[in-house]
C-alpha cells in the first residue's frame, strides 16, 4: 500500500471524552503501517498536551502517551495556538514535540491529506 498522509482532528477534552484515546490508537496503527500521521488539536482537546496532568495510577496518562508516539514513532501533533492561549496552556507546559499551529495550517492539512478524520464526541 502507498504511504498515506493521515490527519486526525480532535475537538473535545481528554478526560471527559475518549476521542483522544481513539485518535492515538488510530494514529499508532497508521504509524505502524508506515503512514505519515498527524493529530490536529482544536478547542479543549489542546488540554491533552498539558504535561503536568496527574491521573490516578490506574488511568492512562494521555499527554505521556502522545509524547511517546511523537518521540518513538514520528507522530506529528499540531496545537491550535489560539485555543492554547484561551485555555492558558503555554508552550513550556505542553509536551515536547507538539507544535503550536493555527487555522491556516489546518486548512493546508485538509487540502493535502489523503485521509482526514474528524472526531467530535
Amino acid at each position: 500500500m502507498d504511504k498515506l498522509k493521515i490527519t486526525i482532528q480532535v475537538m473535545v477534552p481528554p478526560y471527559s471524552y475518549e476521542d483522544l484515546d481513539t485518535a492515538l490508537r488510530i494514529a499508532e496503527a497508521g504509524l505502524d503501517r508506515g503512514h505519515d500521521v498527524g493529530i490536529f488539536l482544536f478547542a479543549d482537546s489542546v488540554l491533552s498536551t498539558f504535561s503536568k496532568v496527574k491521573p490516578v495510577r490506574t488511568d492512562r496518562n494521555i499527554p505521556k502517551q502522545m509524547q511517546e508516539l511523537i518521540e518513538n514513532k514520528g507522530l506529528r501533533v499540531d496545537i491550535c495556538g489560539i485555543c492554547m492561549d484561551y485555555r492558558g496552556v503555554t508552550r513550556e507546559e505542553a509536551i515536547p514535540g507538539a507544535v503550536p499551529s493555527g487555522l491556516p495550517e489546518l486548512a493546508e492539512l485538509i487540502e493535502t491529506s489523503d485521509r482526514f478524520i474528524n472526531l467530535m464526541a
Binding site: 482532528q9 475537538m11 482544536f42 478547542a43 493555527g102 487555522l103 491556516p104 489546518l106 486548512a107 493546508e108 485538509i110 487540502e111 482526514f116 474528524n118 467530535m120
Partner: protein, 117 residues
C-alpha cells in the same frame, strides 16, 4: 481544490460550536478551499432573528455575518431542524438556503471532506 462542508449541529447558546464552526470555515480560505456550512439539529437555531447569545453575556454569533458576506460563504440550513425548533423567521444576514433532510443526504456525497463541529 477540495470542497469542504462544515456541519454545525449544536446550539449557539450553551455551546461554542457554531462560533468555532464558522471560524474554522473562514480559516479555510487560507488554503484556497471553498467551505460551505450546514446547520442542522440545534445548529439551525443560529439563523433565527431572535437568536442573540450576546444578550446573555455569551459569545456573540452574529459577528459571523460580516465574514459570511465578505467571503460569500454558502450557508445551508435544514428544513426539518427549523421546524423542530420553531425557527420561523430567518435572519437574512446569514443568507441561508433551506434544504430538506432528503436532499442533505445527497449533498453530503458532493464534498471531499465533511467536518462535524
Amino acid at each position: 481544490m477540495k470542497k469542504v462542508l462544515f456541519v454545525i449541529y449544536q446550539s449557539p447558546v450553551g455551546t461554542i460550536w457554531p462560533n468555532e464552526g464558522f471560524r474554522t470555515a473562514f480559516g479555510m480560505y487560507a488554503a484556497d478551499i471553498e467551505p460551505d456550512v450546514l446547520l442542522i439539529d440545534q445548529g439551525a437555531i443560529v439563523v433565527g432573528t431572535e437568536t442573540e447569545p450576546a444578550k446573555l453575556g455569551l459569545l456573540p454569533i452574529k459577528v459571523c455575518q460580516k465574514y459570511i458576506k465578505k467571503y460569500e460563504t454558502k450557508v445551508w440550513v435544514e428544513k426539518e431542524s427549523l421546524e423542530k425548533f420553531n425557527v420561523r423567521v430567518l435572519d437574512q444576514e446569514y443568507n441561508a438556503e433551506i434544504i430538506s433532510r432528503a436532499d442533505v443526504k445527497a449533498m453530503l456525497a458532493e464534498y471531499d471532506r465533511v467536518v462535524f463541529m
